[in-house]
Structures are given as C-alpha cells and as structure tokens.
C-alpha cells in the first residue's frame, strides 16, 4: 500500500515543520506549507490525500481555504487543527466538508488516528466511485 500523502497548512512554521518531521518518521509522506499560494501549488502538483489545516492564518481565512481546497479536489479530506476556539469554527468547518476538527495541542497519535480514518473514508469513496464508473 502506498504511503498516505499529508499536507500541513499552518503559518506556525515551527509547529508545522516538526509535526511534518514526526509524520515522516511514522511513515507518512508529509509536507508543510505556511501560506495559501504554496498550499494550492502543492495540491495541484502532488494531490495530497489528507490536509491538516489551521483555521487562522494571515494570508487567507481557514474556512475560505477549506472551500477552495474542496473545490479543487473534492476527494481531499481536510482535518482542521487549530489553536482557536471551538465556537462557530467547528460547525463552519464541518458544514463545509471538513473531516474533523481538533484543538491544539493535540496528541500526535490522535491526529494520526484521524488521518487514517480520513484516508480510509477517502479510499472507500474512491472505490465506490470507481465501481460505479465500471
């Protein structure tokens, strides 16, 4: 089975890079970007399976980003990981197609579990779509 491609979008470089390293160590193909442009570029070029997205970033609002990502590739699963409050952010995110919503600091095992589940869901959906096409 091929490795799961994970894209981390977070303006907190220190967090994103370390987190990316740790995912790499655990056998994921991960990559961290800190702005919207780089993120879109990466999505276009590498087609990640799962995106870890921070909601509050200077260049673009996380929810906006989520919408654009889902538009670019509906099969992408997005897990929101943010330091910001739960209030309306969670509802918004889920409404716009986020797979889950996690609050920083989150345990890496929790995140990995979400990534696995998100990926499984994505795979199942793709299989379903493929079977339909056939």
């Amino acid at each position: 089975m091929s490795k799961i491609k994970v894209l981390i979008i977070d303006d907190e470089n220190d967090f994103a890079s370390t987190f990316s390293e740790r995912l790499l160590m655990r056998g994921y193909l991960s990559c961290a970007v800190n702005c919207a442009e780089k993120a879109f570029k990466t999505v276009k070029e590498n087609a990640p399976d799962v995106v870890i997205l921070d909601l509050k970033m200077p260049s673009m609002d996380g929810i906006e980003m989520l919408k654009v990502l889902k538009k670019m590739d509906p099969s992408i699963e997005v897990i929101v990981l943010t330091g910001h409050g739960l209030s309306k952010g969670k509802d918004e995110a889920i409404k716009h197609g986020a797979f889950d919503y996690l609050l920083k600091p989150a345990d890496i095992d929790d995140i990995i579990e979400r990534i696995e589940r998100a990926n499984k869901k994505r795979m199942l959906e793709q299989q379903y779509l493929a079977s339909k096409r056939v």
């Binding site: 330091g83 910001h84 409050g85 345990d107």
Partner: protein, 566 residues
C-alpha cells in the same frame, strides 16, 4: 447571604438617595416660595385696600350718625330756646313778672308735647327771683353769685351747662333777657338726657354730651365712661370747629374704643359717640379672620401640593434613573462579557499555538529518543518521564483555554420561555447517571405549575450542572448520607431555584470571592476557577441573580432568582 451587587453599587444608591432627597427639598422650597410670595403680596394688598375702604365707610357712617344726632340735639335746644324767646318777646316785662301769667304759660307748655320745662321764672338784673312757677318753692332765691347767671347777664339769651341746681337736682337753664329782667326756664334734665341716652350704635355704641371742661352734660346708662381727664385730653386734641373728630384705637381698661366728637350748642358742648373698636369694625374683623383662614388654608394647601408634587416627580425621576442605571449596568455587563469572551478566545489561540509547538517539540524529542543510539542512555526513563510531563501540562493548558472559551461560547444563548421544572428534572436525571457510584442522593423538590421564565435552556442547564457538580464535590466521599437538593419555587414576580448540599461548606473568607474568575480551592490542576464565574455571568445576563449561603460543616445553598417571563 452575599449579594454580588457589591458595595460600590450600594454606595451609588446611597448617593442617589441623597441626591433625590435634596432635589425634593429644593423643589418644595422653590414651589412654596414662588407660590407663597405672590399670595402674600396679593393678600397684603387686598387686606390693606379693603381695610382702608371699609374704615372709610365706617367712618362716613359714624360721621353721618353724629351729624344727624347733633342736628337733632341742636334742634331740641333751639326749639326750647325759641319757646322762651317767643314768650319774652310777645309780652311786656310787667306781665311776665306776674306769677299767674307764668303759671298759665307753663301749663300751656306742658300740654304741648315738645315742651320739657319744669319751671318758669323771672329774675331781676341783681339776680333776685321776681316771679316763679314750677316744681320748686324758690321765691327767695338769689342767683347773683351763680356762674350761669353771670354768663347770662352778658347775653341776650343763654343756655347754661348742666349743674346741680339750688334744689340739688341736675338741670340746665335757658335765660332770655327782656329789658331789665331775665326770663328763666329750667329744662327737664331727664327729658333732655334721654334724647342722648337713646342713641345706640351697634352693640356697644352709645352717646353722651360733654362741656368744654370735660364734664358730663347727660346721664349715661353705661358706666364705662373714663375719667374726666381722658375727655379733656380728647377734647384738647380735637380741633372742634364744626367738624367731626374721630379717634379710633383709644385704649381704656384693656379695650379699644372709637370716639367720635362733634360740637354742639355753638361749640360749648361736645356730643361724644363711644363704641368699642371690635364692634365698630366687626365686619372688618370677620373679613380679616376669613382672610387669614383662607390665607392659612392656601399656604397649607401650597405646602401639601408642593410636597406631593415634588415627591411624585422625584419618584418618577428616581424610577427613570433606576431604570436607566439598570440598563446601563446591563450594557456594561454585556460589554464586559463580550470583551471577556473575545479576550478568552484570543488568549486561547495565543496560548494554544505555542503550547502546541512545545508539545510537538517534546514529541519530536520522544521520537528521536526511541532511536537505537539512545537506548543505552542512562537517563532514558527520566527523559521519557519529563517528556510525558510536558505533554500532560500541555493538555492542562488546553483544558484551561477550553474553559475560558466557554465564556465566549454560550452554547445557545437565545432566550425563550422555558419551564424551569422540566430543565431541573432533566438535569437531575443526567447527574444521577453520572454520580451513580457516589453515595450521594440527588433530590428535586419542585413547586408544581411554575410560571415560565425567559432564559436560555442550555445555559441554565449548564449552570445547574455546574452547581450540582460542585455540590457533589463538596460532599465527603466517606460520608454515606450525602444529599443534594434542588428546590424550585414561585416567589412573586420571579422564581427561585435553590441548590443545597450537606457538604463541607465554604469558609466565610471565600464566600465573597467564589464568583470571581479563576478563584478555586481545588488542588492545582483539578479546577480552573471559572465555573461559578461563568454561572454568574449567565444568570446576570438573563436579568437574574445568584447568591450563596454557606455554613461550615452544614452545607451550602446557591439561590438563583430569575424574573418570570411577561
């Protein structure tokens, strides 16, 4: 019981009360003064003018009376004088000196009603009585030494003052000179006096006649006549021409009198009318009393109205002020909560990010430590323990920020009409579930048919859950009769929800701090100190109040009051 409107609000209210009191006082004073001054001016002026006009009227009336009586008396005297003069002129001296003739004349006089002569006589120029007829036997009398005869000698006719005659009776005499003799007639004093005595003015007024020396010339039925000196004084004051002289407010024996004096008999006598001031001006006094009564009534009325109006206005202003203050307070409260919420969300974000980095870096170290080259390291377990601690403390930070965030996140803050009993019942069920294994009984004691309150159901439930959790926590685990009771009650225009426990109670020193954010007595890491402050914020926002009573060893009661929905 502690009210969270703390002391500064009480001070504010005290200040307000002082302000409103002084406002009322000022308003009363101004109203009374500004009504009182014109009233006083009008009353004084009208009193003055009425007084003057009425006195003028009374004086004019007395004047008229005095003139009338003067004329009356002068007429009487003139008439008597004319009788004697006619007699003297129509007969010669010798005939007049005949006693028989005199007797005939006197009887004629007596037959006519207007005559009041008691005798008739003729005196020669030496004063010897020549002829006499009348009541007295006076044939040998000689009048040469008498005062009146000396005066009469000088004049063609003369009316004497009243004197005690030779007969010892008061009388006065009319004489008319005829050649060498004097025709003399004595006037019936009582008849003359009665003319004056019969004069009556009002209830206390009467009249008498004085001569220039202040001697009485008539009898007076009333013995209130002051001493002769007083009359002399009065007469000397009056410039007795033909004019009426009026002295009012003449005091005698504690009473005030009005004296009216008018000359009689060519100025030799004075007709005096005496009346008590009280009587003469009785109507004026009545009017004055009525005026005073009306004035007093008006003043009292003004004061009462000023008081009532001022109080009403102040009450209204105070109500408006209180309503405004309440609104301001609510606005301030809302603003405070909103900014606290924003702050909380901001802090949560600002803290969670660095904490996330720390935890992540610690995780990274952990990852690296698991590599083979470190497996032999002496302190590997110690490193792992430290890393686990960092992770755990990171999670604790997250918990705190989550609690903080619940400030900003009011589950469903929409206010609807809710039935408190239903919420309590549901909450009790929920808590029973979670405290199944604690030996604590959770009991609900609800008043049936409770009116609805306007509140957010989820928020109220949050508050109740918080209070019940606290209550259960306060009960010693080793005790087996722990009890938490929730009581709902209708109380006038609001309902109360009381959450009581028989736990360890809250020390007095902590009671007024328990609603403050971050105040906690739980061990570090077990409580954030935000629960009750959130409860407080929620209840206050709904227009209610939350208070606490507690006794060490007995337990604690939290009382929530919420206004009934309209």
């Amino acid at each position: 019981m502690i009210h969270l409107d703390l002391s500064k609000y009480n001070e504010l209210k005290d200040m307000d009360i002082g302000y409103y009191k002084s406002f009322t006082r000022k308003m009363v004073i101004f109203t009374v003064l500004f009504s009182f001054i014109p009233l006083l001016v009008v009353s004084t002026l009208s009193h003055h003018y009425f007084n003057t006009a009425y006195k003028e009227k009374v004086v004019a009336h007395i004047n008229e009376l005095a003139f009338k009586h003067k004329q009356n008396i002068d007429n009487f005297l003139n008439e008597q004088l004319m009788n004697i003069r006619t007699l003297a002129h129509s007969h010669d001296s010798s005939k007049l000196s005949s006693e028989t003739f005199l007797r005939q004349v006197l009887s004629v006089f007596k037959e006519s009603h207007s005559s009041v002569f008691v005798d008739l006589g003729v005196i020669d120029k030496t004063g010897g009585l020549v002829a006499y007829t009348g009541a007295f036997k006076l044939m040998s009398a000689n009048y040469s030494e008498t005062d009146w005869f000396n005066k009469a000698k000088e004049r063609e006719f003369f009316i004497s003052d009243v004197f005690l005659g030779l007969e010892g009776q008061p009388n006065f005499i009319i004489t008319v000179k005829k050649d060498e003799i004097f025709l003399m007639a004595t006037v019936d004093f009582k008849a003359f006096s009665s003319i004056v005595e019969d004069i009556r003015i009002g209830e206390t007024g009467f009249a008498f006649i004085l001569n220039r020396q202040g001697n009485l010339q008539t009898l007076s039925r009333y013995n209130v006549v002051p001493s002769r000196m007083v009359y002399r004084e009065l007469i000397s004051k009056a410039s007795l021409n033909d004019n009426v002289a009026i002295f009012s407010n003449f005091k005698y024996l504690g009473k005030k009198y009005v004296y009216t004096m008018i000359p009689l008999k060519g100025g030799e006598w004075v007709l005096v009318l005496q009346q008590e001031v009280q009587d003469a001006f009785s109507k004026l006094y009545t009017a004055r009393y009525i005026g005073i009564a009306v004035f007093v009534f008006a003043v009292v009325g003004i004061i009462i109205i000023a008081l009532v109006v001022a109080r009403k206005i102040t009450k209204y202003l105070a109500e408006v002020g209180a309503a405004k203050e309440k609104m301001h307070e609510r606005v301030r409260e809302t603003n405070k909560l909103a900014s606290l919420g924003e702050l909380a969300a901001g802090i949560a974000h600002e803290i969670n990010n660095p904490v996330a980095i720390m935890v992540e870096e610690a995780g990274w170290i952990g990852d690296l430590l698991s590599e083979e080259e470190f497996q032999e390291t002496e302190n590997l377990t110690e490193f792992k323990r430290a890393l686990a601690q960092i992770k755990q403390q990171g999670a604790r930070c997250k918990d705190i920020t989550l609690k903080l965030l619940s400030f900003a996140r009011r589950t469903d803050p929409r206010m609807v009409n809710v039935q408190m009993n239903a919420i309590v019942e549901e909450t009790v069920k929920l808590t029973r579930q979670s405290f199944k294994f604690r030996r604590v009984e959770i009991k609900a004691n609800m008043q049936p048919e409770l009116p609805t309150v306007s509140a957010s159901a989820t928020e109220v439930q949050q508050v109740l859950l918080n209070l019940i959790n606290n209550a259960v926590d306060s009960i010693d685990v080793s005790k087996d009769d722990g009890l938490v009771e929730i009581i709902t009650k209708n109380d006038n225009d609001h309902i109360t929800i009381t959450v009581c426990d028989n736990g360890q109670g809250i020390p007095n020193a902590n009671l007024d701090k328990i609603f403050e954010p971050f105040f906690t007595t739980k061990p570090v890491g077990k409580g954030t100190g935000l629960g009750l402050s959130i409860c407080y914020g929620i209840i206050k926002k709904m227009g209610g109040d939350i208070t606490v009573k507690s006794e060490i060893g007995q337990g604690t009661c939290f009382v929530i009051t919420l206004p009934q929905s309209d």
